[in-house]
């Protein structure tokens, strides 16, 4: 018995040391968290955006075409953090929903914002099944919704403006949830895969009703930089300083399109893309923003 105690001593010490290391890691992590971070994750040809608010709230917009998002989140979130406060699914196409399936399975997702639109791919069925199985509260997105995220951060839903719950739709891209994130003086616009018709609609709504302002600092370029999105009038209204195209290396669609890049350059946006820049993090302290 005495011998056993002696033998266990070093193990006990090792475990205590490990806990000390872990606790200090946590302390430094909390200390380092001052600014709002928006990271456009390099998950191949698809969208995945991770938003970290200094008070600890986390938002994930879309999950990319496969499970790559898991390793990306794993390296961005502290290791003890197994929950995400809000997951936004812009629309349930494979390059947006596939990675979210495993996210729902492994993380405690507090709530989900999506349109409820129907689709007929296996990834979507899994998504619906898991929402039900894990009893995750779903909010159906509708233009005009407004959420306070804390520490001077707000989230506004700009589109869609129709009810799509349970409906099959021909133009799934146009149903994309469009949200605007504001943090102090800085703003970010996430456009999903919308095409020009939604752009024109949002533009006219913004001009006629003045419910919302399109002018934004950082723009997630719609539909991976497709040439049928990001039209001149829309870009002129948004007038982004930074534009980010979420595209995969050598993707078969040729995204982002030359024309789109030219249009973005014409409004004076600095363009970053995941295929050449990897993960792109934009930092905002409420007054200024910069690319990390």
């Amino acid at each position: 018995m005495e011998k056993t105690c002696q033998n266990i001593k070093p193990i006990f010490l090792a475990v205590l040391t490990a806990f000390a290391v872990i606790i200090w890691y946590a302390v430094f992590y909390f200390e380092s968290r001052q600014n709002l971070l928006v990271t456009f994750l390099d998950v191949g040809q698809g969208d995945a955006i991770f938003i970290e608010i200094p008070n600890g709230n986390q938002i994930l917009i879309d999950g990319g075409p496969d499970d790559s998002v898991l390793a990306k989140l794993g390296s961005r979130m502290p290791f003890w953090d197994r929950s995400i406060d809000l997951v936004i699914l812009t629309h349930p196409e494979k390059d947006h929903v596939a990675g979210l399936v495993e996210i729902l399975r492994r993380y405690d997702v507090d709530r989900v914002l999506w349109t409820g639109v129907a689709h007929s791919i296996a990834e979507f069925y899994e998504w619906e099944r898991l929402l039900k199985e894990k009893n995750i509260s779903a909010i159906y997105a509708y233009a005009g919704q407004h959420a306070r995220l804390g520490q001077g951060a707000f989230l506004d839903v700009l589109s869609p403006s129709g009810d799509f719950v349970g409906k099959s739709v021909k133009e799934l891209n146009e149903t994309s949830v469009v949200v605007k994130l504001e943090h102090g003086k800085n703003s970010f616009l996430f456009t999903g895969d919308i095409g020009r018709s939604t752009e024109y609609r949002m533009l006219s709504e913004s001009l006629n009703t003045r419910y919302f302002i399109l002018d934004t600092d950082v723009l997630k370029v719609a539909h991976h930089g497709s040439k049928y999105s990001s039209m001149e009038p829309f870009l002129a209204a948004v007038s982004p300083n930074i534009a980010i195209a979420q595209v995969g290396r050598k993707n078969r669609y040729g995204h982002p399109a030359r024309e789109t890049l030219d249009r973005l350059a014409a409004v004076g946006a600095a363009i970053f893309r995941n295929d050449t820049d990897g993960d792109i993090t934009i930092v905002s302290d409420g007054l200024n923003f910069w690319k990390k």
């Binding site: 193990i11 806990f19 496969d66 499970d67 898991l70 794993g74 197994r82």
Partner: protein, 506 residues
Amino acid sequence: MFSGEKLPKSKVFLFLLLGFIGGVAARSFFAPTFEAVFILFAASAVVLAVGILRLNRRIIFLGALFILFFAGILRFSYAEIARPDLSNFYGKEFKAQGIVVSEPERSKSVQRITIRVFETSKKEIDPFKLLVTVGRYPRYEIGNKILVHGTIEKPENYSEFDYVSYLARQDIFATLFFPQVEKIGKGKGNQLMIYLARLKHSFEKNLEKVIPEPHVAFLKGLTLGERESLPADLVENFNRTGTTHIVALSGYNITMLGRFFVLGLVLFTVPFRVSFWIATAGIMLFVLLTGASPSVVRAGIMGILVLIAQKEGRLYQMTNALVFAGAIMILHNPKILRFDAAFQLSFLATLGLIYLSPRIERMLDGRKKFKTADPAYKEKPFFSWKQTLIETLSAQFMVLPLLIYLFGRVSLISPISNIAVIVAVPYAMALGFVTGGLGFLWHPLAQISGWLTWLILEYQIRVIEFFAQIPAASIAVGKWVAIPLVVFYCYVAFVLSRYIFKVPRS
């Protein structure tokens, strides 16, 4: 060797086994005509008969040796003939019904499922295995009965990779890409395998809940040999640092696991004699948990052999045990001898652990005599760095020519990176098992243990990243470099064989 003295029984046994393995080896490279084999087979039978008539042991031995050599040839030929004739199926569209016979391989975008097809176009047929590639969802499981509709194809090699032999080793001669799939039943086939697959699945789920990626993918590689979900950049880093083998459940990993059992029990002052058997039982349980695939069973056997070698320290008997184990594995699937790199690497590493590491240790210690059992268990309560260093070096040394031949590159820092990573492997494995097990009991406990596991995995991943960054960590060399190395090894083996085959006189 064949001098006047009578050949001891143990040696007779060894040479007969080597005869069989030689036969399989020969047939793996050449395909002689059936007549030639038959004539030679008859000739050796005659030799054997003459030996028996004359009661001459040496002639009997010679005859038996030849017979076993031809048995090896026949065993391989039989494996070749036994392949189903699927020429009627290739390139045609079919509706086929089958049962998923092994745990699907899941990568981050597809699942590869092996099904045993027993019915096509509503007609019952001779069952054959079919490899079906489908999307990531819905997930299929072993025992599912599914209906697939698509065009069955004959496998073809890609640019560098001998895909045909790779599949043939698993008795797969037909593939099907992205068919329409309908699940029509579940729980069919071997119930034990289904139960084990479920257990493993829940275990993985427990880990995934408490440890983030990519750490959990790495841990699944370490504990279960699953490496499909490892991110590509991490795999590249493993390759650059020559540490890929640690996520492949080799015999080496399993030896580590067994030793951890032993060490853990020694801490509680359980004598080595007893803890050794508990370790062996633990390894068997582990092999079952991972789904008992042939490659893991092989690794388990090799792991136990190394433990025995360290317990007994009688190398001349180990030779027989090792060759016997190898012969049984080859008898079970003769194709592994030439076509299964994992088997070859595992076997060579085991050779290194059994024969080389005690030698190096003796060299370093300057001791004259071989000890009977590894004192590391008895004297040091914890892992000895020197022991890890010696073992890593001896395993690495043995597999080096094969690695060069297979991949055409050498990782120059591999000895250092391996030692730095491998010291933590047993802890990561043990904590991983504890975490997955606690997940069945109480989630918060699993979470705490998960944090500790994470810390160790983080250390390993950081170390691997660090070493992979070093320029010229891994350099390309011509495959021919393997040849002089093999010649050198043969020479060393010949010198050593005088010791290995020497039977101590009692």
